[in-house]
Amino acid sequence: MNIIVCMKWTPDTSEADLTVSAAAKDIKKDDLDFDMNDWDRFAIEEAAQIKEKVGGKVTVVSLAPEESEDMLRECLARGADEAFQIWSDQMEGGDGYATASVLSQFIKGRPHDLILTGTLAEDDGAGQLGGMLAAMLDIPSATLVSRIEIKGQKASFVRELEGGLYESMEMDLPCLIAVATGLNEPRFVSIRAVRKVTSIEIPNVGIDEIGIDAGKVGQSGARVEIEQVSLPPEGEGAEIIKGKPEEAAARLAEILKEKGAIG
C-alpha cells in the first residue's frame, strides 16, 4: 500500500491583524506564521493509521518554500516514511491548477495506491486541488470523506452530507480521497518525536527533477487570475461596540431591543 499525502503550508491568520498587500492581489504575509493546513493534519493522520492497519509506505509531499521543512518533519514524526519538498522560485504565484500540475507530474513517476489530502485549505478555501489532481492522474476521487476503510483493492468510505446524512461508497484503488476534518483524532507531536526523525533527509525537488515545463508552474501555469483582494467593508449598520464590558453589554441589549430581537 503506497500512500501519498499532499500537504499545504498555510498562513495562520487567527490572531493576526490582516492587511492587504500593496498590489491588492494578496494579503501581507511577511509577519504571519505559517503552519500545516489543519485539514491536511487529518489526512496525514489517516495515512498513518491506514499504514498501521494494513502496512505500506507513507510519502508526504508539499509544494512550499524551504521554511515548510518543519511541517514536513512533523509529518515524519506523525508516521510518514519519507517527505519531499517541492519548490522552485518559478512556482511562486500559482493557483490550484498549477499546483495540481506539479503534483501530478511528481506522483506519476512513483507508485501510488491512495492519495490523501484535506478537502479545503484554510487560506483560500478553494477546494480545487483534490479533484484536479485526480483528473490529471486519471483516477477516481471523493471529497469530504469522514471514514475510510481499505478492503483489498478497494477503498470503502463514508461522506458526510448536508443535514447529517451519511453516504457510503466504494472506489477502486488507486484513488484520491480528500478528507473532512474530524475523521480521526490526530496524534500529538512532541518535541522528542520530532527529534527522533531529525536524521531523515527531506529532499528538495525543483522543476528540473520533476521534469515539468517552467511555463506550467507558478503564475505562468495558473488559470485563475486574482483581480483584487480586499478587507470586508465596514458595512452600514455594523457597529463596533466600545467601552467597558458592562457598558458594552448594555449597549448591545439596547440595540437588540431596538431591532426587536428581544422584547
Binding site: E15, D35, R78, R187, R192
Partner: protein
C-alpha cells in the same frame, strides 16, 4: 494450683520446644521468602535516589511514622489508628516473650524483669483491652456505617481483607486473655485484678477448681495465639496490610523535593535518547513508587480529598495504588505460575489505569497532603502522561494550546510581539522592558495569562500599579518572555518544557536583577522548583506583605465595606510551596475586614480545576465544575468576597459564580487587585 506451662506440655508426644521451633522456622522462612519476592520487584524497577539528607528522613519517620502526625486529620479514625498503632508497639515485646516461652517456661526479655517486668505486664494487659475494643469499634464502623472512602469501585473483593485483619488481631487479643486468664484463675490472687484487667476479665468465665480445664485453656490459648500471630505476620505481605511493615520505611524514603517533578529517568544522560519516555508498565515506575503501592492502606483519605474524584471525574488516587498493587501481586506472584498470553493481557497504563484517569488530575496535591504515610501521586501521574504524550495520545483539547506554546511561547496563540501590549493601557507611568545587560531590582514575570488574557491583564496592571506607587524598581522581559512551562511539564511534554524554560533561563541570565516576582503561583512554582538554575523568585503576596510590614503602604476598607471575606488557597501557592500566611496577613491588614475561613482551607484547600493549560482541558465525565463546588463552600460560610492569589483560580471561580447564578451575591477578586483597590 501450679498451672502447666506450654513449654512443659508435649504435643502428641512431641516436646513443645520442638514444635515451637518448627512453627517459628516455617513461619519465618515463609515470611522471608514472601518478602524476598515482594522486594525483588523493587529491584527490577526504575532507579530513584532516596538516600539523601538522612536526618530529615529520620525525623519524618519519627514524626509521620512513629508519631502518626497526620492521623488526626480524620479525628475519629485517626484516634483509633493511633491507639491501634501504640498497641502494636507495646504488644510486640509481649509477642517476643510468648515466642520464647515456647522454648523455656521462664523466658524473659532482658530488662523486663522485676518491677519493670510487672509494670510492663500490667501495661500490656490494659493494652490488650484497648486494642480489642478498638478492633470491635472498627468492625462495627465498617459493617454498619460503610464509610464511603473505604469503597473499592471497579475492583471486587478487597473489603473482606479489613475484616480478616481485624479478626486476626481480635483473635490475638482473645487468645492472650485466655492464656493469661487461666493462669490468673489458677493462681487465685484475685486482689490484683486492677493490675491485670484483661486476665481478670477472662478468668470470670473460667472454673476455679478444675485444673485440667485451666491447663488446657492455658496451653491451648498459648498455641492458638502463636498460630494467629504467625498467621497475621504472613498475611501482611499478601494483603493491603502490607503497610504494617512498609509504612515506616515508606515515610523514611518519602519525597523531599516538594513542588517539582522527577526527571524522566534518574541517571539518564540524555532522556531524549531513551527507548521509552515515561511509564507504561509496573517496573517502569521507580522502586519507591512501587513501595508506595505496597504501602497504601486503602484508607481512602486521598480520594476523599481529591477534587477530580469529588466532581465525578474518572480519577480516584487510592484506586491507582490498589490497582497497581493488584497488578504487582498478580504479575509477580509469590509462586511462579504459567504466565498468560501477553497479547490478551491488559496493559497497566491504558487499560487498568485508564487514560481518563491519567488526564483527570489537576496536580493539586490534595492527595499527597492528606496521605498519612506520604504516598506520592503527582510524579506517577506525570510519568504515565509522559508515556502517553510520547506516543501522541494527548486529549484533543490540550493539543492546540501545547502546539501554540511550541510555536509562539504562549498557549493563547497570540503573537509574541503583543506580549507587552497591556502596558499601553497604563497612563500614569511606563513599564520598562529590561534589555540585555540592564539592571532592575525586580523582574516582573508576567507569564502568558497575565500578558494575553484580558481579565488577567487587569491583575497585571494592578500589580504594576502597586509596584509603581511604592517606587519599586521593576521591569518586564516583554517579547523575550515565554510561558513558564509549569503545566507543560505536568502534562508530560518534557521536551517542550525544556524548550520554554530554557528560553526564559537564557533571558534571565542575560539581565541583572535581585529577584523575580510573579503573581501567578504556577509560574512562581516552575521558576522556583522546576528550573534547573537557581533564581530568587517571590510571589506577589510575599511582596505585598513585605510592603505592608515595612509600613510603606497603607490600606483602607472602603472597597470591601462590611462584606464577609474568605480566602481561597491556590494549590501552587499553599500546598506546593507552603505560602499560607502572607496572603492572610496582607488581607487582615485591611482596616475593618470581616474574615472567615472556609472548612477546606490551608493544606485542605479545594482545587478550582487547575491552572495554565488546564484551562483548555475538557472533561466529559464531571457532573459539576470544581469551581462551582468551591463557590458553594464559600456561600455556605456566608462569604460575599472570595479572595484568591492565582489568576486561574480567579477565572475558574468567576465562571462558576456565573454558572451557579450567584452574580451579585458573591465576588471573587485577586489579592493584588484587592490591595490595589484598597490603597489610599
Amino acid at each position: 494450683m501450679n498451672i502447666l506451662k506450654p513449654a512443659d506440655a508435649p504435643i502428641l508426644g512431641a516436646p513443645a520446644p520442638a514444635i515451637a521451633f518448627i512453627i517459628l522456622f516455617l513461619s519465618v522462612a515463609f515470611f522471608c521468602y514472601v518478602m524476598f519476592r515482594r522486594l525483588d520487584v523493587l529491584r527490577k524497577a526504575a532507579p530513584d535516589p532516596r538516600f539523601s539528607d538522612i536526618p530529615t528522613r529520620l525525623l519524618r519517620a519519627l514524626m509521620y511514622g512513629f508519631g502518626q502526625w497526620r492521623q488526626p486529620r480524620y479525628l475519629g479514625a485517626g484516634i483509633l489508628h493511633i491507639l491501634l498503632f501504640a498497641g502494636f508497639m507495646i504488644l510486640s515485646l509481649r509477642s517476643l516473650t510468648l515466642i520464647g516461652r515456647g522454648f523455656s517456661p521462664t523466658f524473659h526479655i532482658p530488662f523486663l524483669t522485676g518491677s519493670v517486668g510487672f509494670a510492663y505486664e500490667s501495661l500490656k494487659d490494659y493494652t490488650v483491652i484497648v486494642v480489642l475494643i478498638v478492633c470491635l469499634i472498627a468492625i462495627v464502623r465498617r459493617a454498619v456505617f460503610h464509610p464511603k472512602r473505604y469503597d473499592h469501585p471497579g475492583t471486587a473483593g478487597h473489603e473482606y481483607e479489613a475484616y480478616v485483619i481485624l479478626g486476626l488481631v481480635s483473635a490475638l487479643m482473645i487468645t492472650d486473655m485466655i492464656h493469661d486468664g487461666s493462669a490468673y484463675r489458677a493462681s487465685g490472687v484475685c486482689g490484683e485484678y486492677h493490675w491485670f484487667p484483661a486476665a481478670a476479665f477472662a478468668s470470670v468465665f473460667m472454673p476455679s477448681n478444675d485444673p485440667a480445664t485451666l491447663n488446657f485453656l492455658h496451653v491451648g490459648g498459648y498455641w492458638a495465639h502463636i498460630l494467629f500471630f504467625f498467621g497475621l505476620l504472613n498475611y501482611l505481605p499478601i494483603s493491603k496490610h502490607f503497610h504494617v511493615i512498609t509504612a515506616i520505611p515508606n515515610v523514611f524514603f518519602s519525597n523531599l523535593n516538594k513542588g517539582t517533578i522527577k526527571p524522566v529517568k534518574y541517571g539518564a544522560v540524555d532522556w531524549m535518547e531513551l527507548d521509552q519516555c515515561g511509564v507504561s508498565d509496573l517496573t517502569g515506575f521507580t522502586w519507591k513508587h512501587i513501595l508506595d503501592f505496597y504501602s497504601c492502606a486503602d484508607c481512602g483519605r486521598c480520594s476523599d480529598n481529591c477534587p477530580a474524584n469529588t466532581v465525578g471525574r474518572a480519577l480516584s488516587p487510592k484506586m491507582i495504588s490498589v490497582k497497581a498493587r493488584d497488578y504487582a501481586y498478580e504479575h509477580f506472584p509469590i509462586f511462579d505460575k504459567n504466565s498468560k498470553d501477553p497479547a490478551h493481557e491488559k496493559r497497566l497504563v491504558g487499560d487498568i489505569i485508564t487514560e481518563q484517569e491519567i488526564w483527570a488530575c489537576t496536580t493539586c496535591g490534595a492527595c499527597e497532603a492528606e496521605c498519612p504515610i506520604l504516598i506520592e501521586y503527582i510524579d506517577k501521574i506525570v510519568d504515565m502522561r509522559r508515556y502517553l504524550t510520547d506516543r501522541g495520545e494527548v486529549p484533543q483539547s490540550l493539543q492546540k494550546p501545547l502546539q501554540q506554546i511550541k510555536k509562539r511561547g504562549n498557549a493563547y496563540g497570540a503573537m509574541k510581539s503583543k506580549r507587552a501590549a497591556w502596558t499601553k493601557d497604563l497612563e500614569e507611568f511606563q513599564v520598562h522592558t529590561l534589555a540585555e545587560g540592564e539592571h532592575s531590582d525586580l523582574l516582573f514575570f508576567v507569564d502568558s495569562c497575565g500578558s494575553f488574557d484580558p481579565r488577567i491583564q487587569e491583575i497585571t496592571k494592578s500589580f504594576a500599579r502597586i509596584m509603581a506607587r511604592n517606587k519599586l524598581d521593576f521591569a518586564i522581559l516583554g517579547q523575550e518572555e515565554n510561558d513558564s512551562g509549569n503545566e507543560v511539564r505536568r502534562l508530560g511534554e518534557e521536551g517542550l518544557f525544556e524548550q520554554v524554560s530554557g528560553r526564559n533561563i537564557e533571558a534571565f541570565k542575560a539581565r541583572n536583577f535581585e529577584e523575580i516576582v510573579a503573581f501567578d503561583p504556577h509560574a512562581f512554582n516552575a521558576i522556583k522548583n522546576d528550573y534547573p538554575e537557581p533564581f530568587k523568585v517571590i510571589h506577589s503576596s510575599q511582596l505585598i506583605y513585605r510592603l505592608l510590614s515595612h509600613g510603606v503602604m497603607s490600606l483602607n476598607g472602603e472597597y470591601l465595606g462590611d462584606r464577609m471575606v474568605t480566602y481561597h488557597d491556590p494549590c501552587y501557592l499553599g500546598r506546593h510551596n507552603g505560602i499560607y500566611e502572607e496572603p492572610r496577613r496582607a488581607l487582615k491588614s485591611i482596616p475593618g475586614i470581616r474574615y472567615q475561613e472556609m472548612d477546606r482551607s490551608f493544606s485542605r484547600s479545594f482545587c478550582c480545576s487547575g491552572g495554565g493549560l488546564l484551562l483548555w482541558y475538557e472533561n466529559e465525565e464531571e457532573k459539576e465544575r470544581m469551581g462551582e463546588r468551591r463557590v458553594k463552600m464559600a456561600m455556605e460560610i456566608g462569604a460575599q468576597v472570595i479572595v484568591t492569589a492565582c489568576p486561574f483560580c480567579l477565572i475558574n471561580i468567576e465562571d462558576a459564580i456565573k454558572t451557579t447564578g450567584n452574580e451579585g451575591k458573591i465576588e471573587v477578586i485577586d489579592l493584588v487587585e484587592l490591595i490595589d483597590r484598597s490603597t489610599s
